[in-house]
């Protein structure tokens, strides 16, 4: 039996990133993917014959520049620009406004709705610009080990402190003031138009167990705003295409249709390989898991192997899925009520904080929202080839839907959710229903089953402060785990989920050090 240096469990974008970075350093890397293709939540999928998505997640704007450079993704065909994609904020009354990377044109657009908000938006972006270096640096660097708090960890914390102090007293006070706030409070201080506020706040509550009135959502909004600065032609699927080519070129051995059944430990308790679901075993010096922490520890290891303390902590890691995905195949381009000049690629609904909050209220009682808020991607605008000529694909991440509704996900309930989301989209569009050729609904429960997302959580675990610092749990906060030879390299590790590649990259740095 051949022995690899590293086995990567899970071929999502973080697994691919870690695998390629390690292979580039001359390590022998085997990547095992349960599904028949790599890519995870970023993979292209044909959901109806002739209609394909550009990924379950839509947003590639926060992929770290370091990854694009180190993995030479441009030479592998990825078209990247350093401007995030425009997104159109939709109001139920037919008004719409498009905001883009350029604060000036964004403000001009907003001015057609409100001059006050246009000015406020320029100030808002100025504020983001001023805190961007600090935040971006924090979420692209190795996390401190809060368990050790040794010299280097203190230096890191001190570094963050120095970066904070470098902002100057007023800006530092302002940042510390707004970070714990709810996005509603934060944006209410600045803007006046309800649907603009709701649209801007969306990344603060995306895939969370929070509504816009929840404290600390500003933190998530600011992290997104500070890191969302690239656009990839073709979306997540194009990223995966380039990552796969990079992995192949670097010599990563990729096996698809190869789920992992167990992580193998030797007598000393060290991870020495994995046993695949097919029965085959693979040996390695290091095992790195890109799948969610709960799946890693609770499914691939036994209670005895991880011990009661870690098991209890992992069980407590919060991973409540709150998002359902709906893919629509349309037999003609989607027609928006707001009649945009350019076809819309990305759009968000929301209308008002209260409506978003009400949408969130539902999941607390294990129900889905009657009036969901939608994060919409129309991938065929940029990549017409995803659908037959003249046809359209629309993919929607709908908030909020529970992982486990009372009574379970029955067929009638699924149909009702589908209809509810279609109705919400119909509010923004003309004759939507008649153009629908096919649809596919993915409830949080289906997301778990299909993508291995425990709890149906898109980020492998909620983005709450206590789960960002010391992520997923303090004992595993620096990608290593209490099991020697076992590492984490997925979205369940710092700095968390979304398509960033950061956990994969930062884990690869740690692993490379380990096997030098």
């Amino acid at each position: 039996m051949t022995t690899h240096d590293v086995i990567i469990i899970g071929g999502g974008h973080n697994g691919l990133t870690a695998a390629t970075l390690l292979a580039t350093e001359g390590k022998k890397v085997l990547l095992l993917e349960r599904r028949d293709f790599v890519g995870g939540v970023a993979a292209q999928e044909e959901f109806h014959k002739g209609y394909r998505t550009a990924g379950l997640l839509h947003d590639t704007s926060t992929v770290r520049a370091g990854i694009i450079e180190q993995l030479k993704l441009r030479t592998h065909g990825l078209v990247v620009s350093e401007h995030r994609s425009p997104v159109t904020l939709l109001s139920d009354d037919g008004r719409a406004v498009t905001i883009s990377d350029d604060p000036v044109t964004s403000a001009q657009n907003i001015a057609s709705i409100s001059q006050k908000d246009a000015d406020a938006y320029r100030d808002y972006r100025k504020f983001i610009d001023s805190v961007r270096p600090l935040i971006r640096n924090l979420v692209s660097s190795q996390p401190p080990d809060i368990r050790k708090l040794g010299f280097s960890d203190l230096k890191k914390l001190l570094g963050a402190g120095v970066g904070l102090r470098r902002l100057g007293k007023d800006l530092m006070h302002e940042l510390l003031k707004v970070l714990p706030m709810s996005v509603a409070d934060f944006l209410n201080e600045r803007f006046e138009t309800d649907f603009i506020k709701a649209g801007i706040c969306f990344p603060g509550v995306f895939s969370s167990y929070n509504g816009p009135w929840s404290s600390y959502t500003t933190l998530n909004l600011l992290i997104w705003e500070a890191t969302a600065n690239v656009h990839m032609e073709g979306g997540p699927a194009a990223l995966i295409h380039a990552l796969r080519k990079g992995a192949e070129e670097a010599g990563v051995e990729m096996r698809t249709g190869a789920g992992v059944d167990r992580i193998l430990l030797d007598e000393s308790g060290r991870a020495v390989g994995v046993k695949a679901t097919g029965g085959e075993s693979f040996r390695s010096r290091i095992v790195a898991s890109a799948i969610p922490p709960k799946a890693t520890f609770l499914n691939l290891l036994s209670s005895e192997q991880i011990g009661p303390a870690l098991e209890a902590e992992i069980i407590r890691f919060r991973d409540r899925g709150t998002v359902a995905s709906l893919r629509l195949a349309l037999n003609r381009p989607i027609r928006w009520k707001c009649e945009p000049e350019q076809p819309i690629r990305f759009a968000r609904t929301g209308n008002s904080f209260d409506q978003m909050e009400q949408a969130f209220d539902a999941v607390k009682y294990r129900r889905f929202s009657d009036r969901p808020v939608l994060d919409i991607h129309v991938p065929t605008v940029a990549t017409p080839g995803l659908a037959p000529e003249g046809h359209e694909v629309v993919t929607i991440l709908s908030h909020f839907a529970p992982y486990a509704p009372d009574g379970g996900w029955t067929d009638p309930l699924r149909n009702k959710l589908r209809d509810t989301i279609v109705a919400a989209l119909s509010d923004q569009t003309v004759d939507l229903e008649s153009s629908i050729v096919a649809s596919e609904l993915l409830t949080p429960a289906v997301l778990e089953e299909r993508y291995g997302l425990t709890g149906g959580q898109l980020f492998h675990g909620e983005h709450a402060i206590d789960q960002l610092i010391g992520r997923p749990v303090p004992a595993c906060a620096t990608y290593s785990t209490p099991t020697p030879g076992l590492y984490l390299c997925g979205s369940g590790s710092y700095p968390g989920g979304g398509i960033t590649g950061a956990p994969g990259m930062l884990a690869a740095e740690v692993i490379a050090r380990e096997i030098l």
Binding site: K169, H173, L176, P180, W213, R316, K364, Y365, A464, D466
Partner: protein
């Protein structure tokens, strides 16, 4: 008559103002306290609302009061006396109930009826929370250093705090992070499984805040309520003998004992400010009184924009004061009862109803109560914290009769029709409370002799609590520590020279702690403002 000049005038005779006065007077300063109302105590007040029935009109239990203040001001000598409460009782609509007792064995037996696992872990939870409480004590018993400051004093304080954090060890450090940021329910979910146990525990996280038990950040307030410390014992709650006003009166007597003057029915209309410095106050009747410093016991908005006036501040400061959030969320219903009430789930008038009684039959119930309030209505089925102090302190009511105090949440200050419409909804709000309680207490309506309903609007009107917030501003992280009320002016100073603050709108915040008054006085004395 020669004009008298005081060293310090304290505006507002709440417990913090009285404590500040007592400390300053004890240090030999000439102090005058001015109270607008006819009674002292602010929100910590006892009043005979109906003949023969004395109520702790607003604040109704004592738990956070700092023991060293009791010692340093010799409050016991001045009548400070606490009757301990040793039960938290939760009646349930299905006829069951849960009583948690000071005696851990009794609690374990009760809890194990709902979850054996929870009963086992309950003492461990208390132990950890006590550890965290001890840690937090180090923060609340000192002024809060400014993170952005480079002054040696602040840096030394920050370093000391850093060391304290580090000394917690990694597990408690992370636990502290969880406490500071998680929701009360999420935090309790880390420990317990029984909804029946978690619901009444989670409510201490929402008292006085416009948040739900599932709102991030509420676990911290849970701790705030776990720091209760009476006679050195953590997590002990009690009633002040004679009502909560007894605490304030003891403070007032202490202050007077040290030589402070106190005037009631002496509303202050404004400050005398010249060249950016306060030099005295102007009373409602036009009289002016000189003082070297003025200390405001009022909340930040009233102090900055009311007492002093926006024109004396930089517009940026006015903006910061404007963004400081109040959003009162609670009301109070005080009932005079013909006899002691009996709960159908556990009849009798024994020890189980001599502590506090929580109407909190489940997390969803509590969260629904919040959801209603979020959109501008009072909860039709609210969270209610009931106490019947006359069961343990018969001086409060005529023989055989009782006073019942109901703390009610949620009653949002900003109701849909606007706060000024609260008077029109006052009785409907009172009805919702009585109707809710009647579901647990058979014949309840028949034993009610009198009823006083205080909405957040009423709390604002009568006690000067802006937007009815009982803590002088929300206890959310961005309004705590060096940011309470405004970064740069968190250490009891204001941008107006010789104008100081000592109320709950300063570090460490609300509740009957006395810390604001104490720390303000100690800072003033150290600052040599009066030397």
């Amino acid at each position: 008559m020669a004009k008298k000049r005081y060293d310090a005038i304290i505006v507002g005779g709440g417990h913090n103002g009285l404590i500040c006065a007592a400390y300053l007077a004890k240090a030999g300063r000439k102090v005058l306290v001015l109270e607008r109302r006819h009674v002292l105590g602010g929100a910590a007040v006892s009043e005979e609302v109906f003949p023969g029935f004395t109520f702790s009109v607003a604040s109704y239990v004592v738990s956070l009061f700092r023991p060293h203040i009791i010692r340093e001001l010799e409050l016991a000598k001045h009548g400070y006396e606490i009757i301990p409460m040793d039960c938290s009782f939760l009646p349930l609509p299905d006829g069951d109930s849960l009583a948690r007792w000071a005696d851990p064995n009794r609690s374990r037996d009760e809890i194990s009826r709902f979850s054996r696992k929870d009963a086992e872990i309950y003492p461990e939870f208390s132990r950890i929370m006590t550890l965290m409480g001890k840690f937090v004590k180090q923060i609340i018993d000192r002024p809060a250093p400014d993170i952005a400051s480079t002054r040696p004093g602040d840096l030394a304080d920050l370093l000391r705090l850093g060391k304290a954090f580090r000394s917690l060890g990694p597990d408690l450090l992370h636990m502290n992070l969880k406490l500071m940021t998680m929701s009360a329910v999420d935090f309790l979910d880390l420990w317990f499984e029984s909804d029946t146990l978690k619901a009444p525990m989670s409510v201490s996280g929402i008292i006085g805040t416009f948040q739900g038990v599932r709102s991030p950040g509420t676990a911290y307030v849970l701790l705030h309520h776990y720091m209760g410390e009476l006679d050195g014992a953590f997590r002990s709650w009690g009633f002040s003998k004679g009502g909560t006003g007894g605490v304030s009166m003891a403070c007032a007597r202490a202050a007077m004992g040290y030589g402070a003057e106190i005037r009631t029915e002496a509303p202050v209309a404004g400050l005398r400010i010249k060249n950016g410095a306060a030099s005295g106050v102007i009373l409602g009747n036009g009289d002016e009184i000189d003082a070297r410093i003025v200390v405001s016991n009022l909340d930040p908005r009233r102090t900055y924009l009311g007492l002093a006036g926006a024109e004396h501040f930089d517009p940026e400061i006015v903006k910061q004061i404007g963004r400081y959030k109040y959003r009162g969320s609670s009301g109070k219903v005080n009932l005079a009862l013909d006899r002691a009430p009996e709960f159908s789930c556990r009849p009798g008038t024994g020890d189980h109803i001599r502590g506090d009684i929580a109407i909190a039959p489940g997390i969803d119930y509590l969260e629904r109560a919040f959801d209603e309030a979020k959109y501008g209505a009072f909860s039709k089925r609210p969270y209610i914290n009931v106490v019947i102090p006359s069961l343990t302190d018969p001086t409060l009511a005529p023989p055989g009769k009782h006073v019942m105090s109901c703390f009610v949440q949620y009653a949002p200050y900003n109701i849909n029709e606007g706060a000024e419409n609260w008077p029109a909804q006052r009785e409907a709000f009172g009805d919702a409370v009585v109707d809710t309680l009647a579901e647990y207490i058979p014949g309840f309506k028949d034993i009610i002799l009198h009823r006083q309903v205080l909405t957040p609007w009423d709390l604002e009107q009568t006690m000067g609590l802006t937007e009815g917030n009982i803590f002088h501003g929300e206890l959310s992280l961005e309004q705590l520590l060096f940011q309470r009320p405004v970064a740069g002016y968190a250490k009891y100073t204001t941008p107006v020279r010789n104008l100081w603050m000592c109320g709950s709108g300063t570090h460490p915040g609300g509740g009957i702690m006395g810390s604001g008054g104490e720390l303000a006085a100690k800072t003033i004395l150290k600052n040599r403002a009066l030397s």
